[in-house]
């Protein structure tokens, strides 16, 4: 250790100095108090041994200044003093001096004191190192948290939540939320919403839910349906999360055109649908294990559907909301939630629920992330199909070979297993002159393909859709016939023609079915569910023609202005 010895008597400096050096310590000398302070600041000794009475500045004052100058670094000061100076020493010990040795100095005691102080110095140093490391760790963690927060926000894509029918709110327990709400529309304007809740909260929980966002957004954009997206999300979660980690998930799909809500709930509290008077129309309980637990082959994809007729609020929340506890130990619970979020328009219901929770908690904080989404199920919220401009109605004459052709010929096996329209949409997305019109093209392809498959190959009659359970019955029958399909073929041909600098898309779909009586098409009845699809295609296309006995259909489509 480095020891500073301050004494005005040369004989003492010599005697104690020699002894200190003989113990193996490094010695620094000072002749008075002023010099002691200067040397101390320059040399930064581990211990200061100082005489009480010195010229220019006495030991007590020097000790005070040394302590002040050294700041947070602890430098023990030991006074070398005579018995008669005891009261002054006591005063000094209360402010700056750490220990003392009485004159005449007993070398055995001095040695023991130095050893004892050395122990304390080392302990001090260790604590200081640890606290420095802790401070550094804290700074780094804060910085990482800041970056993670930014990344999360980018990946979660907040602005996509600005759907006119969706009102939602997330309050993280830590700075990062383990709850995630994501929403997007398919090209066919079906609203997809997911609410995911990862284990715990903070960074690791946030990381757990992140793998879900990419398949959710990418596949929704390409028009995949709920079960396919779910399979991919499950695969992702299994792939990246360790055993014991999982994500509770509710996936909701709302088709405003066909007035259909479809829900898959794995580990999220009951999802409820309230009518405008606050009456409960439907409750979706958790029917599945959370994502990431079962092997992919065992994932149960069954969903529960509901056909709506009236305006209503669909309410989804994480358990953090129901289990939020006030100071009296009560939980917020489903009853309070039901009262708060029904019989008001969705946006006001959300605001009231947030207000009610805050009143209920009365300053207590939530121990888990809280998230709440209310979908305004409004049958009239069907986004109107854009009207075609007058000039777009007339299809210019065209002849000659197309610039490109894309042909698919699908047998029974492909029809059973392939997601045909999303597959073609992948191609459209890559075709520059058409990619901005992908919503229109998706609708045309979907309608023509579904017609060919359902009515042509599977020979389903649209009359089955009538009645309250009609749609459900129709979909079940469709799934059964498709699974059992042995024969049948659908040919799809897309061709791109250059017309006055624009790309015209020609879509031709042929099925192996018996065709149909086209006469009803001419006096189109919009009330019939089956007529709606073809009217839609007709509205979007420049021309629509049936050939043969009705099992070949061709639509020509000109993208609207490049806006």
């Amino acid at each position: 250790m480095k020891i500073l010895l301050a004494d005005d008597a040369e004989v003492v400096r010599l005697m104690i100095g020699r002894f200190v050096e003989s113990l193996g310590h490094q010695l620094v000398l000072a002749n008075d108090g002023v010099e002691a302070v200067e040397r101390c600041m320059a040399e930064r000794p581990d211990i200061v041994l100082m005489d009480m009475l010195m010229p220019r500045m006495d030991g007590c004052e020097a000790a005070r200044r040394i302590k002040q100058a050294m700041g947070s670094q602890w430098v023990p000061v030991v006074m070398v003093t005579a018995v008669e100076e005891v009261s002054k020493l006591a005063d000094a010990m209360e402010t700056a001096v750490d220990d003392y040795v009485l004159k005449p100095v007993n070398f055995r005691i001095l040695e023991a004191k130095i050893t004892a102080i050395e122990r304390t110095v080392q302990l001090h140093r260790k604590v200081r190192e640890q606290s420095d490391a802790l401070a550094e760790y804290y700074d780094r963690a804060e910085e990482e948290k800041r970056v993670a927060q930014h990344l999360m926000e980018q990946l979660v894509n907040r602005e996509r939540l600005s759907d006119p029918q969706l009102h939602c709110w997330i309050a993280p327990a830590a700075s990062l939320s383990g709850d995630l709400i994501a929403a997007a529309r398919t090209p066919g304007r079906v609203l997809h919403l997911m609410l995911a809740d990862g284990i715990g909260h903070g960074l690791t929980a946030a990381l757990n839910v992140l793998p879900l966002t990419q398949p959710f957004y990418a596949m929704t954009e390409r028009g995949f349906m709920l079960p396919d997206i779910l399979v991919e999300m499950h695969r992702k979660v299994r792939q990246v999360l360790p055993v014991g980690r999982f994500v509770a998930l509710a996936f909701v799909s709302v088709d405003f055109v066909n007035r259909r809500v479809e829900v898959w709930n794995g580990g999220i509290p009951d999802i409820r649908l309230f009518d405008a008077q606050g009456g409960l129309l439907k409750r979706w309980k958790s029917r599945h294990l959370p994502l990431g637990i079962l092997p992919p082959s065992q994932l149960d994809l069954s969903t529960e559907r509901f056909v709506f007729g009236r305006r209503s609020n669909l309410v989804i929340c994480s358990d953090g909301l129901l289990e939020a506890r006030n100071t009296a130990g009560e939980t917020f619970g489903a009853a309070r939630l039901s009262l708060a979020c029904s019989n008001l328009p969705a946006n006001e219901a959300l605001a009231r629920t947030i207000g009610d929770l805050s009143t209920f908690l009365d300053g207590a904080s939530c121990h888990d992330d809280v998230s709440l989404a209310i979908i305004d199920i409004d049958p009239s919220a069907v986004l109107p199909l854009p009207e075609r401009g007058e000039d777009g109605d007339e299809l210019p004459e065209f002849e000659g070979e197309p610039n490109w052709r894309y042909v698919l010929s699908l047998g029974a096996m492909q029809l059973r297993s392939l997601q045909v329209v999303p597959l073609i949409m992948g191609f459209i997305a890559q075709t520059k002159s058409l990619s901005h019109a992908h919503a229109d093209i998706f609708l045309i392809l979907t309608e023509l393909f579904v017609n060919a498959l359902d009515h042509g190959v599977l020979e389903l009659s649209s009359d089955m859709k009538q009645g309250t359970d009609g749609m459900e019955h129709y979909l079940l029958e469709r799934a059964a016939r498709l699974a059992a399909l042995k024969e049948g073929r659908i040919e799809i041909e897309l061709a791109g023609h250059e017309l006055a600098g624009r790309t015209m898309l020609r879509v031709r779909v042929t099925d192996s079915g018996h065709g149909f009586d086209r006469s009803w098409l001419d006096h189109g009845d919009d009330a019939k569910p089956s007529g709606r699809g073809i009217s839609l295609v007709r509205a979007l296309s420049a021309s629509l023609h049936f050939f043969g006995n009705g099992n070949t259909v061709e639509a020509c489509y000109l993208p609207r202005g490049d806006s």
């Binding site: 809740d197 990862g198 999982f246 794995g266 580990g267 079962l294």
Partner: protein
């Protein structure tokens, strides 16, 4: 939370008390390792009689224990699940992969 181990013949019981959440991680692992390591134990019972609450990290720990007990050739059951505990297990649909009594 505390986790006590009781071994009676082939049956090893894990008695949990209090709130079962992430803070219970170390205690739960030590206690379950003790049961997993006991050669005589064939059936592991996790007893929730004294548990008032469990959260999603507790569910994660149960999944880990399930993996480990299957690897060790032991059966696993969750017993005496009441009120909140039962409700949380139900929402997570754990009845599909665990024996709950």
């Amino acid at each position: 939370m505390t986790a006590l181990v009781e071994i009676d013949g082939q049956t090893g019981r894990l008695l949990l008390t209090g709130q079962f959440d992430f803070s219970a991680h170390r205690d739960f692992r030590q206690a379950s390792d003790e049961l997993l390591g006991a050669a005589a134990v064939h059936d592991i019972l996790v007893d929730f009689q004294q548990v008032d609450y469990l959260d999603s990290s507790a569910l994660g720990m149960l999944l880990l224990l399930k993996e480990k007990s299957a690897a060790a050739g032991k059966t696993l059951a969750l017993v005496n699940c009441r009120d909140t505990v039962r409700q949380v297990l139900e929402i997570a649909c754990f009845g599909k992969i665990f024996t709950i009594r």
